[in-house]
Amino acid sequence: MAVPQTRPPGTDVPEPVLRIRDLWIRFRTPGRRTTAVSGIDLEVGRGEILGVVGETGCGKTVTGLSVLGLLPETAEVTAAELNLLGRDLRALSDDDWRRLRGTDVAMVFQNPSGSFNPVFTIGAQMRDVLRQHERVKGAAADARIREVLTACAMPDPDRVMRSYPHQLSGGMLQRAMLGLALLCRPRLLIADEPTTALDVTIAAQILELILRLQREMGFSVLFITHDLGVVRRVCGRVAVLYAGRVVETAPTRELFRAPQHPYTRGLIAAVPRTQRVAGALATIPGSVPPDPGAVEGCAFRDRCELAIERCARERPELRLLGSGWVACHVAGEQAAGQTDGDGQADGQGQADGDGRT
């Protein structure tokens, strides 16, 4: 299989921060073997925010964890390439991983309160990180911590440093977690649903914060989420995952203007809008197949209105289509399936005459 580049050929780009080719992640528990990820290709460029979007079981979280080596022992990870800043992640020792985490790559999680040890202060935990990775202690360490917390828009960094996790609100904890992650200036930040557990007005603040920090500090972000609105707001490029595979990847604007994969279209159409929309909500019939790793052909075919005979036989590979990549036999070949400029596919029995203001 030819190694696809996720940018159209001819674009001159420097070496990407993260390059994943043909990643497979399987879990082996006694008596069962499940495939969570079946052949994912991803690339995160320098200073880029790549969105990885999908629903439950698509493998997005597991992919993120594999970049940090945080998968349980029952996981089997194989890849043609799993490269972070030029380092091969497939054969790292425990020590190597420990040196990598926090310094080159860091992660923020969905549940901020679960990420901090409840019996230590925030400051103590952040000092631990600095001491471990950069051997910085005392006043110098505190200064660094204060600096990063200020960058994370904390109104009173000293008070936060003295606080225990339970004394901070969700939004503050998330800022603290960002601060902790960015303490040693990683080149790649993996954010796994960082705003899903937050109130909507607070989540809006955190998203703006992440954008600002990224602009100022220049790190790349692998942004994992199920929320398409968040993807549109924050990410420059998007990879859509379904059942452990990448089905479409494109620059954000393109993806929403003209989604090519039927699943992407269905997903965008299924989000209830805050603007008035006439007609019923578009639904994707069916559900994710029970064992995606065992499906022959396209994993989405049972739910796809455009499926043809080939879809059952042959697994579609990512191919270049416009400025993005689509894994679909049918996409782009039928003019009837084109969108009308607002990201909604017609002919699916819904939202005709979208009463959008």
């Binding site: 008596g31 439950t56 079981g57 069916g286 197949p289 995606p292 049972d302």
Partner: protein, 297 residues
């Protein structure tokens, strides 16, 4: 053709049944398998003892003084005691007593303790306080002293020892059941039952208690072994079974004075206790492991 959304989704596994998982777990854990086999053996002996023992009369006072104090041999695998009774037969017969006592004690402790604990944990407030205070009171009694007090009041014997053990044991189940009820009542399905207008007593006994079964069964399994040990201990100091009952603890006590020369008198009943208790502990551990991950799902 679109599939119905009635398929099981990817993230929900078709979990194999409990028996299958148990079987698989035991294949990997040889000790647990060993424990289960011993338990089966002991249970079989408890039920069929009188027919399996070569000399069943030895449990009921039949003696043969001419064969006294013989070491283990082909005719008497565990030897004979000072009254010529076949120790092997007596050990087999003793299984019934051990199982009877332990099952009665644990069974009654659950019957009394679990409903009290479930009610206390669900109701909270004053009822909770009242029940738990009574429970704490009973927990404070050392089982041995309690047994002695009851024996002093009612006289010695297996029945009174059993009573003493039940009184000592039920508070533990109240504690466990209460803890489970306190956490279960926070679950949405309890709220849902209340919103449906289900009566409180129904909620407690149809929703809370059935969902508490796991940890209680684990505790009960291990307790069977512990009770056998305790009953044996009581018999050892003369507060339990009376001679000529083939109670294991009693046999260990009676054989004590002969231990240097006729070692088989205490050793074999002692080993019976040891292996039985061990077996229940191992299986209890296995159950613990089997039940826990299911709750995590």
């Amino acid at each position: 053709m679109a599939a119905s959304f009635n398929q099981l989704p990817a993230n929900v596994s078709e979990r194999p049944g409990f028996v299958l998982r148990a079987g698989r777990a035991m294949r990997r854990d040889v000790l647990a398998l060993f424990g289960l086999l011993i338990i089966v053996l002991v249970l079989l002996l408890a039920v069929f003892g009188p027919w399996l023992a070569p000399e069943p009369g030895t449990g009921a006072g039949v003696v043969d003084v001419s064969a006294r104090m013989q070491p283990p041999s082909a005719a008497h695998p565990f030897g004979t005691d000072w009254l010529g009774r076949d120790v092997f037969s007596r050990v087999i017969l003793g299984a019934r007593i051990a199982i009877q006592v332990s099952f009665v004690v644990v069974g009654l402790a659950i019957l009394v303790g679990v409903p009290l604990g479930a009610i206390a944990g669900y109701r909270r407030g004053r009822i909770d306080g009242l029940i738990m205070r009574i429970t704490d009171l009973f927990l404070a009694f050392p089982p041995l002293l309690l047994a002695m007090a009851i024996v002093a009041a009612l006289g010695p014997g297996l029945q009174n020892a059993t009573l003493a053990l039940v009184i000592s044991w039920w508070p533990w189940y109240t504690r466990i059941a209460r803890g489970l009820a306190v956490s279960l009542r926070e679950w949405p399905f309890v709220d849902a039952a209340r919103a449906m207008g289900i009566r409180e007593s129904t909620i407690i006994f149809r929703h809370i208690v059935p969902n508490s079964v796991g940890p209680i069964v684990v505790q009960a399994t291990i307790d069977i072994g512990t009770v056998i040990l305790a009953a044996g201990g009581l018999a050892f100091i003369g507060l339990g079974a009376r001679p000529p009952a083939p109670d294991w603890g009693l046999m260990v006590a009676e054989g004590r004075q002969y231990i240097l020369d006729q070692w088989w008198l205490s050793t074999f009943p002692g080993l019976a206790i040891f292996f039985t208790v061990l077996a229940f502990n191992l299986v209890g551990d296995l159950l613990l492991r089997l039940l826990d991950p299911r709750q995590e799902d």
